[in-house]
């Protein structure tokens, strides 16, 4: 197992989640105010799940070296 690679993927994922999460929370706030449609939130959630899947696959690579 390559610990450095695992840590690097975790750091990338944390940076991604920090930025994505803050914009998602803004979107959620806009949705609660009625400024945004529910489908916008759904699309952002799909985007989050998709990126997390890609990060998870990359994390697997750290276990293979």
């Amino acid at each position: 197992m390559n610990v450095y690679a695992l840590v690097a993927v975790a750091l990338f994922a944390a940076a991604f989640l920090g930025i994505y999460g803050s914009i998602y929370l803004n979107a959620l706030s806009s949705y609660r105010k009625g400024e945004l449609d529910w489908h916008g939130i759904r699309i952002l959630r799909l985007g989050l799940y998709g990126h997390l899947t890609i990060f998870a696959i990359l994390a697997i690579t750290a276990l293979l070296v």
Binding site: A5, F12, W38, L44, L46, T53, I57, L64
Partner: protein
């Protein structure tokens, strides 16, 4: 008989239009989810190929994954700035918005997937070849370029794409804002393309003169 055929066709067309309108809930077009799913399907391929290369312990396959993902990433960026940017500049505002509506979901997973796979495969490859020497100025230069590319991707590209989705989801989207965000992404793709040309030069140097 002919007029009956025409009226049936007209009814079918009208029915299709109503169905499309029903599917277009809010400002998000019906095709957004489909394009996003397509982008995810394509985006999963590079990291999955990297997993396969490492599982097979094939240096050739690892090198191939690194070069093809990095090359495709560079090609996409250059295409977006050099060709698509010019095409968009020739379109009117509604045309640019229509392109942005389709381009944003299609590139949403593919670009970060290619970027992260190229970088990860590059590190594994350098480790395998014994060239991952952190004191080497060429490896440091490659690292600096990668950090800049990643910061631009996470800090500008992705947030802009999310803001385009959010704008589209509003009852009355600001078309000028969508166009502005999309244009910023296209220009940034040009900057990334130039940075990638620089990193390819660094890679070529490392390959010919290993540190």
């Amino acid at each position: 008989m002919s007029s009956e055929g025409v009226s049936e066709q007209a009814v079918q067309t009208a029915g299709q239009t109503i169905q499309d309108a029903v599917r277009r809930v809010g400002g998000i077009p019906a095709f957004t989810s489909r394009l996003l799913l397509w982008s995810f399907g394509v985006g999963v391929v590079p990291p999955a190929a990297l997993v396969a290369a490492l599982q097979m312990k094939s240096l050739l396959f690892l090198e191939y994954v690194h070069v093809i993902s990095g090359g495709t990433w560079t090609g996409f960026d250059l295409f977006m700035s050099v060709i698509l940017g010019r095409i968009l500049a020739s379109l009117d505002l509604p045309g640019r918005v229509e392109v942005a509506k389709r381009l944003t979901p299609t590139t949403f997973f593919i670009m970060p997937s290619l970027a992260s796979t190229a970088i990860t495969a590059g590190i594994y490859l350098a480790e395998s070849l014994g060239t991952f020497i952190l004191s080497s100025p060429w490896i440091i230069a490659a690292g600096v370029v990668v950090i800049i590319l990643t910061a631009q991707g996470f800090g500008i590209f992705m947030p802009n794409s999310m803001r385009i989705f959010m704008e589209l989801a509003k009852p009355s989207p600001d078309r000028a804002k969508i166009t502005r965000l999309n244009s910023m992404n296209i220009r940034l793709a040009g900057v990334q393309g130039v940075m990638q040309l620089a990193i390819i030069l660094i890679m070529a140097h490392i390959a010919v003169y290993p540190p």
